[in-house]
């Protein structure tokens, strides 16, 4: 795994963790599935993993956007 990929993933995990912390529900009794704490845990973990994926994809695609721009700029400058 390249250093850039590790940094991107690290940023995605931190950003998702902050989002997760801010997303604490207003209700505190976990009342919808009262019989299964495991289901609640799964719900939180799945949400976190999906958020990491979205952040990671975002950072990766933003980088590519800048790379495209640099390539096009170079092509324009090469043109007579």
């Amino acid at each position: 795994m390249s250093a850039q990929r590790i940094v991107r993933l690290g940023l995605a995990i931190v950003a998702s963790a902050v989002s997760l912390a801010l997303s604490s529900p207003y209700w505190r009794d976990f009342g919808y599935w009262p019989e299964s704490r495991r289901l609640w845990t799964l719900y939180f973990v799945l949400g976190f993993l999906l958020a990491v994926y979205v952040f990671d994809a975002f950072l990766g695609r933003l980088r590519t956007l800048f790379e495209h721009d640099a390539l096009e700029r170079a092509t324009r400058e090469d043109e007579p």
Binding site: L22, Y32, V54, F58, R61, L65, E72
Partner: protein, 563 residues
């Protein structure tokens, strides 16, 4: 593009003009509402506040849709390299839209009489659902209108195998526009379920469908204005849409917090809506990069100003202000208060309204054949008036909303008993003040676009009148843009902290210093940063004309030496 390439593009003109007329009346109703807020007896019994408000919100949706239709019809032939299919149907669509507008405006008054026009178990005349107040007859006509738009666009487009990302974005956008509308077309007796489907239409439209159309149109307008490559714009459009759906489809659950839907939505609704600004940040960088791809002078400043305003207010109004109130822990306080109004005005007018105005400023001069001798001064002035006016309105609503949350939600004082209104009085006075600035801008831009190419030609400033490429007009680099964006988000974080602080026992016990301080720093900081950033961005682009003029008068030898 300096002239109209396909004659059917001209069919878009009538939709742009209708957009302007509706925009004028919508803003007028807005001003009336600000007066009724100050004096609740104003026109009571004649034009009640709830009716005027329904007219304001409905006209807001109708003029945005009219702008979308105009923009889609204008770019459709360019994307397809052929004339629009079924021009007769497009003319019919225009008259259907006129009929819907007239019907909608006329029937809102019936709400005051308690008459919904019940027939066959349906409210035929008006139904009192916020934003979707038109009755079932209107709903059916709108559905037919959307179906016509789908048919025309998809028939105009080339074979699917030849579609690029912009075709896909617009194609999916108009089909989804039609399908999601269906959820607002039936009556459910259970109020919570009816509310669920109302949110379904209003918010899946805005955050799932309109955003897709917005991204696609912004992309193509950048291609037209800056000659950006379709390939790289297509990449940005594809991923912009992908991020809208990756975040927004689940994130839309932030509207399910308090309407009777299961409690578990509070977590995923908060988490995924926190990701909703990502596509907007993506779009923000996309417009920066494409506008700076070459350093050629910008031909049509008002069109680009409105396009930039659309993307920046999308970032600020929908992205940052949306983020601040999207968590269950902040939304529980801000929901249904003026804090939401601040977000709604900046996001709806900014993102979608300004896009329609940008498309109109691009298309109308072309259709009126004045692109070469187009006096842009009125357009630029109108842009600054509506942009500043709207930021001011956002500020007034946000400050009023913060007071409202404290007095109404945390202290639990009476709304109807008259405790809240005096506390919000200062903000209530700021709204018409900024509203007036906005209205003057609206009048100017409506006058400008309606009469462009028809009024006497004015003297047009030459390139030398453009700002010098120094100081505020120097080139805007990526790192500086990043700093502006960061500053906006820092102020957004301060606002979020302020809203979160309403959960503190001390605040609920009557200590208002912290939330007021955070709002007092966050909102003006964010809105001023936005204003300055747009000023800086536009100034640097306008300075290109100056640079180009200077380059043109340099002797050939000097030009070679300057490289």
């Amino acid at each position: 593009m300096i002239r109209i390439e396909y004659q059917t593009q001209r069919l878009s003109l009538r939709f742009f003009l209708l957009m302007l007329v509706l925009f004028f009346f919508q803003a007028g109703f807005g001003l009336l509402l600000t007066a009724q807020h100050i004096d609740p007896t104003l026109l009571a019994g004649t034009l009640n506040f709830n009716v005027a408000r329904a007219e304001h919100t409905n006209l807001g949706i109708l003029w945005v849709l009219s702008g979308f239709i105009g923009a889609i019809l204008f770019v459709g032939p360019l994307l397809s390299k052929r004339e629009l299919a079924a021009p007769g149907l497009i003319k019919f669509l225009f008259y259907a839209l006129l009929a819907v507008v007239a019907w909608n405006v006329a029937t809102q008054w019936l709400a005051q009489q308690g008459n919904a026009g019940w027939w066959l178990g349906q409210p035929m005349l008006q139904e009192g659902l916020e934003y979707l107040e038109g009755g079932r007859i209107t709903d059916v006509v709108i559905f037919v209108g959307f179906a016509i738009l789908c048919y025309v666009l998809l028939r105009t487009f080339p074979r699917v195998s030849n579609w690029n990302e912009i075709h896909w974005g617009l194609g999916i956008g108009v089909v989804a526009l039609t399908l999601v509308w269906v959820f607002g077309m039936f009556f459910v007796e259970r109020l919570d379920l009816q509310e669920y489907f109302r949110w379904y239409v209003v918010h899946y439209w805005v955050e799932g469908v309109w955003e897709v159309i917005h991204i696609s149109l912004v992309g193509f307008l950048l291609v037209l204005m800056f000659g950006a490559s379709i390939k790289s714009v297509g990449y940005a459009v594809f991923w912009g849409i992908a991020f809208v759906w990756l975040s927004g489809l689940l994130g839309n659950a932030h509207h399910y917090f308090w309407i009777g839907t299961p409690e578990f939505w509070q977590f995923w609704g908060s988490l995924f809506s926190a990701l909703e600004p990502l596509p907007l940040i993506f779009c923000f960088w996309h417009i920066y990069l494409d506008a700076h791809q070459d350093r050629k002078p910008i031909g049509n400043v008002p069109a680009f100003a409105f396009l930039l305003g659309s993307v920046v207010l999308e970032q600020v109004g929908a992205g940052i202000l949306g983020f601040t109130m999207t968590f269950a822990l902040t939304n529980v306080w801000s929901h249904g208060t003026w804090v939401t109004l601040s977000h709604a005005h900046l996001a709806l007018f900014g993102t979608f309204g300004m896009l329609g105005l940008a498309a109109a400023y691009y298309a109308v001069p072309l259709m009126r054949g004045v692109v070469q001798q187009f006096d842009q001064r009125l357009g630029k002035l109108a842009f600054w008036l509506v942009f500043t006016g709207m930021l001011g309105l956002g500020f007034a609503f946000a400050i009023g909303g913060t007071v409202q949350v404290f007095v109404y939600r945390t202290l639990g004082l009476d709304w109807f008993g008259g405790d809240v209104a005096p506390a919000m009085q200062f903000a209530k006075l700021m709204v018409p003040a900024f509203g007036l600035v906005f209205m003057i801008g609206v009048c100017l831009l409506v006058y400008d676009l309606l009469t462009l190419g028809l009024r006497a030609k004015a003297t047009i400033d030459g390139p030398a009148a453009a700002p010098a490429p120094t100081g505020w007009g120097r080139r805007l680099y990526g790192w500086e843009t990043g700093l502006w964006l960061l500053a906006m988000w820092v102020f957004g974080a301060i606002i979020t902290l302020g809203l979160l602080s309403f959960n503190l026992h001390s605040v609920q016990g009557g200590h208002r210093l912290f939330p007021y301080l955070m709002a007092g720093i966050g909102y003006p900081g964010l809105l001023l940063t936005t204003l300055l950033f747009v000023g800086r961005f536009l100034r640097s682009l306008e300075a290109r004309c100056h640079a180009a003029a200077a380059q043109a008068v340099l002797p050939a030898g000097l030009q070679a030496a300057s490289g």
